[in-house]
């Protein structure tokens, strides 16, 4: 990560390359219930990221030997469209998306009340239509809204955000340049319950940071997560009110 450090300046005084402050999120747009066939869905833009999430279920599990008599089986598929990045991505799962799917699924599994649905499955599909750093966090945020839209009972909301270290400074919600040329990338996801951050559901990191920088990253991430949480809630309320109005 840090090899290309000298080649591009990321921090200008108290501003970043795109004019944001260190603790400022990119523009976020969230819309719930945008797909007809899915039980729950969500469209989400975060900076230049564009993702769509769909939830199917609880429904019957196929193949049937995957059924669990004590709880629902949760599946999560993070998939990048071939046209979502500069250089065409070969379709289908690569090692990176397998890992992202695993940790994202685990984050959601920890909050979905899966014991309520024995022998059934809840499938979560997230398509990255355009990627610009932080796509896994955008996908989790969308998946979380889609799960609520599908009426899947959860302990709380999952809200995800990354923090990066760029030119020695910890910055919230890195965009592509900060991710590529920065010194570290730390994606987080939190369980938010009763309007408060309760615990960590996803945590990864690569790069190089000190313990104090990690503390700083946590504070930034929690601040960013609360802002995203509000937008997630708004999107769900808006969808609900619309469906009430339309009978």
């Amino acid at each position: 990560m840090s090899e290309l450090n000298e080649e591009i300046q990321l921090i200008f005084g108290d501003k970043r390359l795109d004019g944001r402050k260190f603790d400022e999120l990119r523009n976020i747009k969230i819309e719930a219930g945008i797909l007809r066939r899915a039980d729950g869905s969500c469209y989400l833009e975060m900076g230049k990221n564009i993702v769509v999430a769909a939830v199917y279920g609880p429904r019957e599990v196929h193949p049937r030997h995957l059924q669990d008599p004590s709880k629902a089986v949760i599946r999560y598929r993070y998939n990048m469209a071939p046209f979502s990045v500069e250089e065409r991505k070969r379709p289908g799962p690569d090692r990176r998306s397998v890992e992202i799917s695993k940790v994202s699924r685990e984050a959601l599994e920890s909050v979905i009340m899966k014991e309520l649905f024995p022998r059934s499955g809840i499938d979560i599909f997230v398509e990255v239509l355009q990627a610009d750093a932080g796509s896994r966090t955008a996908c989790l945020n969308a998946a979380s809204v889609a799960l609520v839209d599908a009426g899947v009972p959860m302990k709380g909301m999952i809200t995800s955000i990354a923090v990066a270290k760029a030119d020695g400074v910890m910055v919230l919600d890195p965009m592509k340049e900060e991710d590529n040329y920065g010194e570290a990338d730390i994606p987080f996801a939190f369980l938010i319950r009763g309007g408060k951050i309760e615990s960590i559901a996803l945590l990864q990191m690569d790069g190089r940071v000190t313990k104090d920088e990690l503390k700083e990253a946590f504070e930034l991430a929690k601040k960013g997560a609360m802002e995203i949480y509000k937008l997630q809630k708004e999107a769900i309320v808006k969808k609900y009110l619309e469906s009430v109005e339309n009978g």
Binding site: E99, E106, E109, V111, M205, T210, K211
Partner: protein, 259 residues
């Protein structure tokens, strides 16, 4: 079915011991199993190591080739890490393409080596933009008695430390030792209720696959982290684990200094 019942019995035993403040094998919560490192065990490989962590055994072999650099790093060598959880190592492993566990294992080991910049990739350029050294780190599990990840990380850096770049074989100059300048060490903890156990054994893992891996470099910087498993982690617990991981890594790094 028999396996299921055994897992439940083990789980109850592990949990009841933990209530008394003990681990089933008598270790302290922050104590590793016995560590053994043997290097240069595969003479056909450019570097190799067998690591034993208690009964867990992993071999890492390093092979090198001349190849093309990535377009965005035309003057740097390339690291490629792979893990094979072969069926010989556990009754639950199956032959075939890598599943999400082996992919995660390889990627977390890779992150530690890559982000600590342990290998000086600048010294592995042969001809800028044309030819660089490719380093293949292949992780081969032999016996999975828990914590394959830390055993693999330790085996990877040990093998790299003993690697000779086979320049003569590829007719690009004289052989030279692989330039290694840092010693990343990963520490994996099993999170159980309000406690955490480092270097969990397979029996301990019966309580659930809830792990946190933290890799640090020689200066105690964190270079890689991975929370693995469907569980929720409190922030204060995270920082406790971080402190333990930093001090444990320092201890284990001493084993690498003899290589």
């Amino acid at each position: 079915m028999v396996e299921d019942i055994l897992v439940d019995i083990k789980k109850d035993y592990v949990l009841s011991k933990l209530k008394e403040g003990e681990r089933i094998d008598g270790r302290k919560f922050d104590e590793f199993r016995k560590i053994e490192i043997q290097t240069n065990i595969i003479s056909k490989a450019e570097g190799s190591a067998l690591v034993k962590l208690g009964n867990t055994q992993v071999i890492v072999g390093i092979k090198m080739q001349v190849g093309e650099p990535f377009p965005d790093t035309p003057d740097k060598g390339v690291i490629i890490t792979n893990a094979e959880l072969v069926p010989l190592a556990s009754p639950t492993f199956e032959a075939g393409p890598p599943d999400e566990f082996s992919i995660e294992l390889a990627r977390v080991v890779d992150r530690g080596v890559r982000e600590s910049e342990a290998v000086d990739l600048n010294k592995l350029c042969i001809e800028e933009g044309e030819k660089v050294w490719l380093i293949f780190i292949d992780i081969h599990a032999l016996d999975d008695d828990g914590n394959l990840l830390d055993a693999s990380s330790l085996a990877a850096i040990s093998a790299l430390l003993t690697t000779t770049v086979p320049a003569e074989r590829f007719e690009v100059g004289d052989n030279f030792p692989l330039p290694v300048r840092d010693l990343p060490v990963s520490i994996t903890s099993l999170i159980v209720n309000d406690k955490f156990l480092v270097d969990p054994s397979r029996d301990e893992v019966s309580v659930g696959n809830n792990f946190l891996t933290i890799t640090t470099d020689q200066e105690d910087n964190v270079v890689a982290m991975q929370k693995s498993g469907s569980y929720l982690l409190k922030e204060n617990r995270f920082f406790e684990i971080l402190d333990t991981s930093i001090s444990k890594a320092r201890e284990i790094r001493e084993y690498l200094k003899d290589i």
